[in-house]
Symmetry: C2
Subunit: 481 residues, 2 copies
C-alpha cells in the first residue's frame, strides 16, 4: 500500500525542516533524567514560575474573580478579596460580552485594546490606535501570524539576528521562507553593526532572495543586550532605505538590569525621526505577559501593534485571526492588567509595587552573579546580561573535547551541555540552537533560578566546567593556568 | 519606491485567498448597527455565553482557585468555596510545575493528558495513550496544526463536507492545499452518501489532485446531523480503501437532541471493526471545552487524539507545537474538568448535574422551537437539528429576489440575510459561507438565544420572511399560498 498522509515520508517538507532546540535533545534528556529521579534545574526556557517565582497577587485576584463572577454577589467576598480587585474584575467583565467563557472579537476585546493603546501612548509619547492592536495567545502566535502574512516562498528572506531566538528560524522554515542571518558582535557586547546588515542583504540578493523584513529582539534573547537609541535609528534608516518591514520583538522591555541603556521602543524612535522615515517604515511590535516581572507564561497573553500598515492588510490579518476565532480571554485580562497596573492610592498599590520591584531587583542581582560566575570559569567568557532573562557564555572547547564530541556523534556544544546536565542537573540550551559563528561555542541559561540557589548552581557549574577542561585540555595547557 | 512587504499587493497569496464568512460582511454590518444603538441578536457564532448561558459553577470555582493559589491558605476560603472545589484545585495545581503561570509541556500537562485518555477509554471501551493526546488552544488550533502537517501544496486534496464549517476551507487555503468537496444530502436529513464520496475523489483525481485526508464533522456544523454507526463504518472503510487520513471533528459530541442516534466516536467504530482496518486507518479526533453544556469558548481549551499515527510523525507534530511553547494552562484545566466532572457523592455533584442537564434540555427544546418556527414560514424548509448548535434552513428565493440581489451586487443569500439583519437585528450567516449546491440558498443560525426569547425571535423572523416573500414573489405565486 502506498504511504499514508501522516507517515513521516509523506509529511509537509517544511514541517520536517523545522529545527527547534529550546525543547530539543537536551530538554528531552533532562525530562528522562527527571523521571529517573534526578533533580533537574530547568534553565532552558524563560519560564519564571516554573523556577519558583510567585505570581503577582493583584492580577491573580482580579482574574480569579473574573473566572468566578458569582462571587461578586457573595456577601463574604470582601473577606478574601480587596475592594480594588473586586472593582477591577467588574470593570473587565464589563468589557466582555458574556464573561471569560465567550469568544471575543478575533482581534481581542476592544476595551482592552484601548487600554493597550493608552499604555503605548504613555510609554512613547505618541497616540496609538486600538484598531491597529491585535491581542494574541502570547507573542509567539503574533510573530507566526505576521510571518505567515509576509512569506510567499523560498525567495522571501527575513533578516534575523544570530544568535537568535529559535521562534524565528522555526517559523520561517515552517512557512517556507529563507532566513537571512545577521551576526551580532560578541566582542562589542552583542551590538548590532549596520555594516553587517548590509553585507547580509547583499549576500542574500546574490542568492536570488528578496529580503522583505528584519527582526530585532530588544532586549536580546539569548544575548541579553539592550539596543541604544542611536543603534535603533541606524536600523530604522536601514529598513527605510532597503524597504524592509521591521519586526520589533520587545517582549523583554521591562527586564532591564543596567541604567545606561533604558528600554526605548522601536516605535518611539521611528516616530521621533519624522517624515519621510516615520511614515515610510512598516513596523510591527510584539509584547507579552510572559516576561517582565509578570512571568505569566502559561496564561498566553500578548499583543502586536502595527505602524504604517495599510488598512487592507490589517483586514487580511484580521481575517486570518478569525479562523481560530479568538485569543484566550483570561490572557487578554492579564494583558489589560499589565498595561494598566494598580496606581498610587489604590488599596493594592503598595503590595503590587513591593512584589514587582522585589522580582526585578533580584533578577538584576542574579544577572550579576551569573555573569561573574561564568567569567570565573576556565575557558568561559560571558557578556553582562543588560536585559532579558538569559546568560550566554562562550565556552572555548579544547580540540580534544571537539574530537570526543565527534566520536560521540554530537555537535560539540551539545556534547558539553549533555555532560553538564548529567553531572549537575543543570539543563541549558546549546548555543548551536540559536545559531552562531563557525567554530565558536556557547550555551544559554536563564538567570531565573531562585536567588538563594544561585551561588550553589554557579559553584556546581564551575566544578563541572573546570574538570571538563582539565580532562580535555592537554597537560601543558592545563598546568599553565 | 517598490511595494513594501506588508502592502496588500505583496502579501502571501494564500492569505489573500482565504475566505471566512462567520465573521464576514454580515458580522461587520451587525457590529456597525450595534454601535449605532440597534439591538442585535448575534446568532452567527456558536458562542453560548455571549447569549446569556451561565458558566457551570464548579469548574469556575476550581479554576478561580488555581488562579489564586494563595487563597488555599486563607482561613476564610471555605466560606465561599466548597471543599471539593478546593481539593480539585489542589489536584490540578499539583499537576503543573509552577501553577497556571508556567509554560507547560508543548503537548499540554501530562497529568491532564492522562485524564483525557481515561475519559476516552470510558467513552469508547478501548484504552487510549496519553502520549498520543495533545492539548490545544481550542479545537481550531489543533485542526490547523494537523492540516499544516498534511498539506504539501496544491496537489494535496482534503475531502470536506459541504456545507461545512469554514475553519476547514480557510485553513486549506491558508496552507495552499485543495479543498475537495463532498455534498451532504439535504433531502436525506444531511446524510452522507458514500457514492458521493467516491465521485468527489474521482473528480479530484481527474484534476491531478491526490486526496490525502477526509474531514467529518459529527454532529454536523452547520447541518446538525448525527452520523449513524453504519454510516461511520462506510466512511472508515472508504478511508481504508482510499488510503485517507480521517479527521474526526467531534466537538459537538455532547450536543445531541434526539435518542435514535446517540453520539458514537469515529475511534470506537474504527477499533470495533478490527484488523486490518482498525490498524490501517490513520485517525485524528478533535474535542473542545467550547461546546457541549460547557460553552467555555473564551477559555480556549481543546485536544486532539491520534490513532495509528507513527511515532516519528507524532514527534514532528510535537516539534511544531513547541514553536509556540505551550497551550494556555487555564484552558487545559477546563479540559481536565470536562473529562473528569464531579462524581455522585461529591459535594458539588447535584448542582453540577442540575446546571448541565438544564442547559442540554433547554437546547433540545430550542432546537425543536426553531425547526418548527422555520418550517412554518413561507418558502422555508428546515431539517431538525439532531445535534450541535445550529439550524440551517433552506430559503427558496423567488427569481425577483435573486434579480434584486444582483442589482444590489450581493450574493442572493447575503442579500436576504442583510435585509433580515436590518429588519430584525437577527445576525445570521448566509449559507454561501459554508458552501452549497448551485442555486440553493440557506442561512445558518445558532439555537443559542435564551429559551424565553425564542418565540419572539421566531415571530420576528416569520414576519420579516413572509413580507420579504410577498414583496418578491409575483402576485399569482403569493395568492396561491
Ligand atoms: C524573544 C522572545 N520572543 C517571543 C517569545 C514568546 O513569548 P510568549 O509567546 O510566551 O509571549 C519569547 C519567549 O521566550 C522570547 O524569548
Ligand atoms: C465544527 C467545529 N469545529 C471546531 C470548532 C472550533 O472550536 P474551538 O476552537 O473553540 O474549540 C467549531 C466552533 O464553532 C466548530 O463548529
Amino acid at each position: 500500500m502506498s504511504p499514508k498522509a501522516l507517515d513521516y515520508d509523506s509529511l509537509n517538507e517544511n514541517v520536517k525542516k523545522v529545527q527547534y532546540a529550546v525543547r530539543g535533545e537536551l530538554y528531552l534528556r533532562a525530562s528522562e533524567l527527571q523521571k529517573e529521579g534526578k533533580k533537574i534545574i530547568f534553565t532552558n526556557v524563560g519560564n519564571p514560575h516554573a523556577l519558583g517565582q510567585k505570581p503577582l497577587t493583584f492580577p491573580r485576584q482580579v482574574v480569579a474573580l473574573c473566572q468566578a463572577p458569582f462571587l461578586l454577589d457573595d456577601p463574604n467576598v470582601g473577606l478574601i478579596f480587596p475592594a480594588d480587585a473586586i472593582a477591577r474584575a467588574k470593570h473587565y467583565l464589563s468589557l466582555t460580552s458574556g464573561g471569560l467563557g465567550a469568544y471575543s472579537d478575533s482581534r481581542g476585546l476592544p476595551g482592552i485594546r484601548k487600554e493597550v493603546a493608552e499604555f503605548i501612548e504613555r510609554r512613547d509619547g505618541y497616540p496609538s490606535d486600538p484598531e491597529l492592536i491585535f491581542l494574541t495567545d502570547g507573542a509567539s502566535k503574533g510573530v507566526m501570524q505576521i510571518l505567515n502574512t509576509i512569506i510567499r516562498g523560498e525567495g522571501d528572506g527575513i533578516l534575523v539576528p544570530v544568535p537568535q531566538y529559535p521562534l524565528y528560524s522555526a517559523t520561517i522554515s515552517l512557512f517556507g521562507g529563507s532566513l537571512v542571518p545577521y551576526y551580532l558582535e560578541e566582542t562589542a557586547n552583542w551590538g548590532l553593526d549596520v555594516n553587517n546588515l548590509r553585507q547580509s542583504v547583499a549576500e542574500a540578493r546574490k542568492r536570488g532572495i528578496t529580503v522583505r523584513a528584519m527582526v530585532i529582539i530588544n532586549p536580546g534573547n539569548p544575548t541579553g543586550q539592550c539596543l541604544s537609541e542611536a543603534n535603533l535609528k541606524e536600523i530604522i534608516r536601514f529598513c527605510y532605505l532597503e524597504n524592509l518591514v521591521l519586526l520589533g520583538d520587545e517582549v523583554y522591555q521591562q527586564n532591564i538590569y543596567q541604567d545606561e541603556r533604558p528600554f526605548i521602543s522601536a516605535r518611539k524612535v521611528l516616530l521621533d525621526m519624522g517624515p519621510p522615515i516615520s511614515k515610510g517604515v512598516q513596523l510591527v511590535s510584539f509584547h507579552t505577559v510572559s516576561k517582565g516581572y509578570w512571568g505569566e507564561c502559561g496564561q498566553r497573553g500578548g499583543y502586536f501593534e502595527m505602524t504604517n500598515i495599510p488598512p487592507q492588510t490589517v483586514d487580511e490579518i484580521y481575517k486570518i485571526a478569525s479562523i481560530s476565532l479568538s485569543p484566550n480571554v483570561p490572557g487578554q485580562i492579564f494583558l489589560g492588567l499589565m498595561v494598566n497596573p494598580p496606581k498610587p492610592g489604590d488599596i493594592s498599590y503598595l503590595k503590587f509595587v513591593t512584589e514587582s520591584k522585589g522580582i526585578l531587583e533580584s533578577l538584576r542581582r542574579r544577572a550579576q552573579i551569573m555573569t561573574d560566575g561564568f567569567n570565573s570559569c576556565r575557558n568561559v567568557v560571558c557578556n553582562f546580561t543588560e536585559g532579558a532573562m538569559y546568560s550566554f557564555p562562550q565556552i572555548h572547547l579544547p580540540p580534544k573535547a571537539i574530537e570526543a564530541a565527534k566520536k560521540a556523534r554530537k555537535v560539540p556544544d551539545v556534547f558539553y551541555c549533555l555532560k553538564l546536565l548529567e553531572a549537575t542537573g543543570i539543563s541549558t540550551v546549546p548555543g548551536s540552537g540559536f545559531g552562531q559563528k563557525e567554530g565558536v561555542f556557547h550555551l544559554r541559561t536563564t538567570i531565573l533560578p531562585a536567588e538563594e540557589d544561585m551561588p550553589a548552581i554557579m559553584d556546581s557549574f564551575k566544578k563541572f566546567n573546570d574538570e571538563f577542561m582539565a580532562q580535555y585540555e592537554d597537560n601543558r595547557g592545563y598546568s599553565r593556568m
